[in-house]
Symmetry: C2
Amino acid sequence: MDDPRGDGRGAALKRLRRSHQDTVLAALARPGGLSRAELAEHTGLSRSTLYTIVGDLLADGAVLEVPGSAVPGSRGRRATRITANPRGAVRIGLDIGRSRVHVAFVDTAGRRLATGTRQLPPLPHWNRRTDAAIGLIRKVAADHDLSAAAPRGIGIGLPGPVHLDERGRILGEDTRIRQLRRVQDRIGEAFGAPTAVGNNTRYAALGEALWGGARGAENVLYIRVSDAVGGGIVCQGRLLTGRRGAAGELGHLVADPAGPPCYCGGSGCLETYTAIPALLEQCRENGLTVADAADLVRAVRAEDPAACRAVTGAADLLGAHLARLAAVFDPDQVIVGGPLAGLDRDFLARIRSLVRVHCLASVGEPPEVRAAELDDDAGALGAVAALERGSEPLSVANLQAR
Amino acid sequence: MDDPRGDGRGAALKRLRRSHQDTVLAALARPGGLSRAELAEHTGLSRSTLYTIVGDLLADGAVLEVPGSAVPGSRGRRATRITANPRGAVRIGLDIGRSRVHVAFVDTAGRRLATGTRQLPPLPHWNRRTDAAIGLIRKVAADHDLSAAAPRGIGIGLPGPVHLDERGRILGEDTRIRQLRRVQDRIGEAFGAPTAVGNNTRYAALGEALWGGARGAENVLYIRVSDAVGGGIVCQGRLLTGRRGAAGELGHLVADPAGPPCYCGGSGCLETYTAIPALLEQCRENGLTVADAADLVRAVRAEDPAACRAVTGAADLLGAHLARLAAVFDPDQVIVGGPLAGLDRDFLARIRSLVRVHCLASVGEPPEVRAAELDDDAGALGAVAALERGSEPLSVANLQAR
């Protein structure tokens, strides 16, 4: 009972210290800051505990000392005030994809300070992707005068399932997992910062929930239909991970158990019918040559029957599954990302009408169905949010207090 | 930023005090307790804060003062030690159903102290159900010598959707809601205790996750197939509620949008095909008269073809929906409650094999599919767990520290 997580007294003390740091930062989430004496009073911490905690936060650059006004009756002595340092406690988010790296810098107030992208050749070795990520962080920091700030943490979004142990380390022993662990270690070491890792599409759900199309919503069902189909679910302000990191993996919902085999080992997965490559193929079979998603979108807007049939068919299949999930999750919003989300009549509106049919009418209005807003930055921004402790709901308000 | 929840400085102080109380109770989760000086050292709280917090906890009966061993070099003076009071900080859970009331008493260590049931005439007025609940609490407390203990909180499970505001008050204005609010107020006032309310089937999911078939699992998909079909979802140790309290309402998943109308306002809901009354009706249509669930179970065990067909059909339909939900939630366990859960070959095993087909194979073994263990007490026990703060994952370990 002393040590329910089995990770020793050191870890328990670390958690307590972190909790006290959060209490102090929360008390400082006001303009002007507080003196140490006021902080002790506001937080209920002992003076010696408070001095240690403030010392640590000063060393981290998370808070600043500023001269305050004169203390009454003290012959002009000024109480030093402690304030939060908005640029000092920068958090960095990375989305390391199969052919691109995105980065986002966020301050203690939850504001986006800077973002950046680097294109990579398709499927480069993980060492090369890691180098690119580290270089991109340095470049964006230098370009935006953030270079001196030691990051308070780096969130790293990665493609594919990422299953973590209780301490946030990636579980598993195959080659891919060992490579991902090395990515995490190298990035953490390069900046001397704590890191968090997770699936980049799940992080995109978090990004949309905090900064994008679902801003302010506590419960968000997110799907991205692109070269692959993926998703993420935010419930009560928290990203669902599930037992093996697979919660929200919408692309491998089985649409038809008797359908064609999928690379995941299953059959008839939603992705095999509705990802962009499947829709391009379907167009080709119907005599329409479309090269990529942009081409497909143009063909739908030009009301090409083969393109419309492919896209409306995908919308109906995706909609039937999303609608049942929405009925069970009861989200505020269903957010649809990827290149098709801008097509209203043939795509988004069809999903919306299916969600309406399946939604439990007796408890009120169905959730909104909307297009994603952040698209390329969503994963990197969400990765920042993943740095927050699991025990607190994720919200911009909470980010502000850190 | 000072007051992100908009509920004033008083509420912020109350949260801080509650957080300090939790820190103290967590430090006391060891045999023998601690002196006040040791407690101050372990928690980092100032002496004056600590004395206030311990004073409040003593007044609540949550902790006890016991004489300690002699303080070295103090000429025999003994430092008073503070220990957690396992019987003092009793939490009570209620499940107020349509024809029965259940109660459960749980101590600070998360142990079940006592349970009880009172049968009611079908669908009595809410005043009568409330009287029965209050009377049952008093009787069970008296029978088990718990009468003197002021409860630290009362969780109240209620049938139907329950949608709460941020402070845990039931939202809505219709007659039913006003009655439910009155139930909550009367029970809270009768025992001078804080209360929490929620849907009783969702609470049953929580009960199974903490004390029942899914003990120790963080991610649980729970369904109960009885006179109605309901469910609840626990993710990362937390009960999902959704935007309108409808998350986990599995009975109204639309199995067939073209199906018969359901009382909920939808069509072709899972409940209309798979609840016990629907299966009894199906048996009658096939020439088998079965009076109730027990009768139906007996007929299946006797391999009556009509009974087997009804039950296996229900299993296949439930299984197809549960399997897709399990693929998206990635639970540790799928728990099936209600009278049919004991039928393996014709019911549980069929659901299990569907879950296996739909589960994302590349990330590991599918979740276990098991029968519920608590059945009648699940809702009342889960209601106790719902008393915990939303910001902490629910676990027996956490219950112990409160």
